[in-house]
Amino acid sequence: MSKERHKHILSFSITSLLRRKGKNLSIFLIYTLMVFLLGSVVFFVSAIKREAATTLKGAPDIVVQQIRAGRHDLIPTEYMEKVRTIRGVTKVIPRVWGYYFDGPTQSNYTIIGMDGESYEAFRDRIPFLSPEEAPIGNGKVLIGKGIARSRGLKRGGHFYLLRSDGGLKTFEVSGIFSGRSSLLTHDLIVMSEKDVRELFLIPARYSIDLAVYVRNKEEIETIARKIGEVLPGTRAVIKEQITKSYETVFGWRSGLVFTALLGTVLAFAILSWDKATGLSADERKEIGILKALGWRIEDILEMKFWEGLTISLTAFLAGIILAYIHIFFFGSYLVAPAIKGWSVLYPPFNLNPYMDAGEVFMVFFITVVPYTVATLIPVWRSSTIDPDEVIRGI
C-alpha cells in the first residue's frame, strides 16, 4: 500500500512537471549547461593527464644534461661511460634531438634521432605508437600526423628542412604515426641520428643529453645524486619530478577554471531558489486543492522531492553526455584553450575516451547538492500553504 502511494506521487510529479514545461525547461537547460561545463573541464583534465602519463611511461628514469653558464648545452658523449659504471644503472643512451621552427607553417617540430636499437626501445615502451615497420635513415623519416597535415604530405612524399647553416636537406616520408599517440607524436619527426647531426650541425663527439635507465626504481634518487658527484657541471632530471609537476600543473589549472565556474553554480543556485520561491497563483492553488483533498505535508514534500530528482537526474545525464561528446569527439573546443596552452602545433588532438566513475560522481556532488539546498526551503514553504487561504483566494 505504501509502495503504491510513492508510485502514485511519483507519476503525479512527472505529469505536473510536464504541465509546466516552460518554467521547468529553462531550469533544465541551465542545469544541463552547468553540468556540461563542469563535466567538460573534469573530463578534459583527466584525459590529458592520462595521455601525459602514457607518454611518460616511455621516458627514461633519469636524463643527464650538461649545464654551461646556467644553460643547457651539448654533453660530451664519452660521459656515458662514467655513468654506466655507477652500480644499478642498466643502460645509458646518448640522445640526439631538438626543436625545429618551421617558418612557413609557423610551428615547432620535435626532431629525434634514432637508429635501429634505440628506435625499437622507443617503440616498445610507448603503447599505440605506430604499427609500421618503416625504415629510417638515409633521409627516410617517420612524421607525426600534424606535420603530415600542415604540409600536405603522404607516405613516400618528399619535403625539405633548413639546416642550421642555411642549406637545404631533403627527406622522404617513410611512415606517418597513427593518431592514438597524438600528444606525443603530433609534431614529431623521427630520423636517423646521422641526419639529425647533419641538420643541426652537432659534432660527432657530442649529444644533446644522456638517457639513463635504472634497474631498481627505489634507487633512482641515489643514482641521480651520484651522477651529480661523478659529473660536476651536469644536471640529472628524474622522471618522477616531471610526472609530479604535470599532475600539479593540470590539477592547479583545472582548479582555477573550476573556481571560475563556481560562480556559475552559485548563479544557478540563486536562479533555482528564485524559481522555487516564486510560485504562480496556479501552483499555489494546486497545492491548496491537493491539501484540501487530504494530501499531507509529507506528501507534498515527497512530490516536490520527485520533481527535483527528475530534473536533477535528467539534466545531469544530459550534461554529462554532452560533455563527453564535446571532449572526446569534438576536440574540446570550449575548455582546451583555458587549460592546455603549451605548444603552438597542438590544435586537434583527439583524446582517448575515458570516464572515471569518481569524477562523474564529483560533478554530480557539486551540481546536485547546491540545487537541492537552494530549493529546500522554498519547497517546504510551498508544502505548508494553508488550503483555505488559497481556495478563498487570499
Partner: protein, 331 residues
C-alpha cells in the same frame, strides 16, 4: 592545495551542509523550548510546520554526508599521485596529522545523523510525537561534531605538503606497523575465527531479536553490531584484503576502492556500514519502547525491520568476502 576540483567540491559541499544544519538546529532549539502540544496558538502551528522543515533538512544532510564520505574517500585515493610515497588513500591520509581524524569524525557523524533520522522516523509514527524535545536537543548536540568534521577536513586539505614523504599501506598496515598492532593484534587464523564466529553470533542474536525481542537482546544486538564493525575492519586489514588482492602481503583497506579491483570496496563498505547503522538503531530506540505508550508498537515494528536490514547488510559484506576467499582457494 585547494586548487583541485574534488577538494573544492568537498569543502564547499561541507560548508553548505553545515550552514543548512545550523539553520535547521536553530529552529530545532526553538521547537524544543517552546513546544506545547496543548496550545492551539498560531505560534504552535508555525512550530509544527517547522518540524517538517527540520526533518527534511536533516534527511538531506545525511544524504549529503554519505555522498561526501564517498567523495572524500575517492579524493583522498586520487590525490596520492601528488604526494610522494603515497600509493593509495592510506598514504594521502598520512600526509598530515588531520587525515585519519577527519575520516574517523566523518564516520562518527554518519552514525549521529543516522540515529537522528531513526528517532525522527519513530517519533512521527505517534500522534503526540513524544520524542520532540529529545530529538531537537540531540540535533543541537550534533552541531559541534559537524563543525569539527569540517574544520578537520579543511585543515587536512590545506596542510597537505607535496614535498613531504609519507608512509603508505605497505608500512602502516604490515605486521609490526603502528595501526596493525591496534586494529588486528591477532594472527590471521585467529582473526578469521573471530570474524566468522562473530558473524554467526550476530546472526543468532538477530534471529532471537526478530522472533522474541526483549530489552537485553536489543542492547546486546546493538552493541554486537558495533563490535562486529570493528572486527570487520580489523579482518579487512588482517586477511580479507589479502584475498581480494590475491597477495597476502598487501593488507590495505583502501586499494580495493580503485578501478583495478572493480571498485569492490564501495559495495563492501556500504553493506558493512549500512548493517552497522541499522544494528545501532535497534538499540537507540529501545529505551523509548516502554517509556512512551504511543510508541511501543511503532518501535517493535521498526526494530524487526532494522534487525533484518542489519543482518542483510552484514551478510552481504560477509558473502563478498567469502566469495573472494573461495576464489583464491579454488582458482
Amino acid at each position: 592545495m585547494f586548487m583541485n576540483s574534488s577538494i573544492l567540491a568537498l569543502v564547499l559541499g561541507g560548508i553548505t551542509t553545515l550552514l543548512l544544519l545550523i539553520y535547521g538546529a536553530y529552529f530545532g532549539l526553538k521547537i524544543a523550548l517552546q513546544w506545547n502540544p496543548e496550545s492551539a496558538t498560531e505560534e504552535q502551528l508555525e512550530l509544527e510546520k517547522r518540524t517538517y522543515l527540520v526533518s527534511t533538512i536533516v534527511n538531506y544532510v545525511l544524504l549529503f554526508e554519505i555522498l561526501s564520505l564517498i567523495l572524500f574517500i575517492y579524493t583522498v585515493d586520487d590525490i596520492h599521485e601528488i604526494i610522494p610515497g603515497a600509493m593509495c588513500a592510506t598514504g594521502s591520509l598520512n600526509a598530515n596529522r588531520f587525515g585519519f581524524p577527519t575520516l574517523l569524525v566523518k564516520l562518527f557523524t554518519f552514525f549521529l545523523y543516522g540515529s537522528w533520522i531513526v528517532l525522527n522516523h519513530i517519533d512521527r509514527k505517534a500522534e503526540d510525537t513524544p520524542l520532540i524535545k529529545t530529538k531537537y536537543l540531540f540535533l543541537l548536540g550534533i552541531i559541534p561534531f559537524a563543525v569539527l568534521e569540517n574544520t578537520l577536513m579543511i585543515a587536512y586539505f590545506a596542510k597537505i605538503d607535496p614535498e613531504t614523504l609519507v608512509s603508505c599501506c605497505g608500512v602502516v598496515f604490515n605486521p609490526g606497523g603502528k595501526v596493525t598492532s591496534v586494529l588486528s593484534p591477532l594472527p590471521k587464523g585467529e582473526m578469521m575465527g573471530i570474524f566468522f564466529g562473530g558473524f554467526l553470533f550476530l546472526l543468532l542474536l538477530g534471529l532471537a531479536m526478530y522472533w522474541r525481542g526483549g530489552r537485553l537482546i536489543a542492547y546486546l544486538f546493538s552493541a554486537s553490531s558495533m563490535a562486529f564493525l570493528v572486527i570487520s575492519i580489523s579482518s579487512i586489514i588482517s586477511f580479507i584484503s589479502g584475498y581480494i588482492y590475491q597477495m597476502p602481503t598487501h593488507p590495505c583497506p583502501f586499494d580495493f576502492l580503485q578501478r583495478e579491483y572493480h571498485y569492490v570496496g564501495y559495495p563492501l563498505y556500504i553493506a558493512l556500514f549500512g548493517g552497522a547503522l541499522f544494528g545501532l538503531a535497534v538499540g537507540i530506540v529501545e529505551p523509548f519502547e516502554t517509556r512512551y505508550r504511543s510508541l511501543t508498537k511503532a518501535i517493535r515494528d521498526f526494530q524487526k525491520k532494522a534487525v533484518l536490514l542489519s543482518m542483510a547488510g552484514f551478510s552481504v559484506f560477509t558473502s563478498i568476502s567469502v566469495w573472494y576467499i573461495m576464489r583464491f582457494i579454488l582458482l
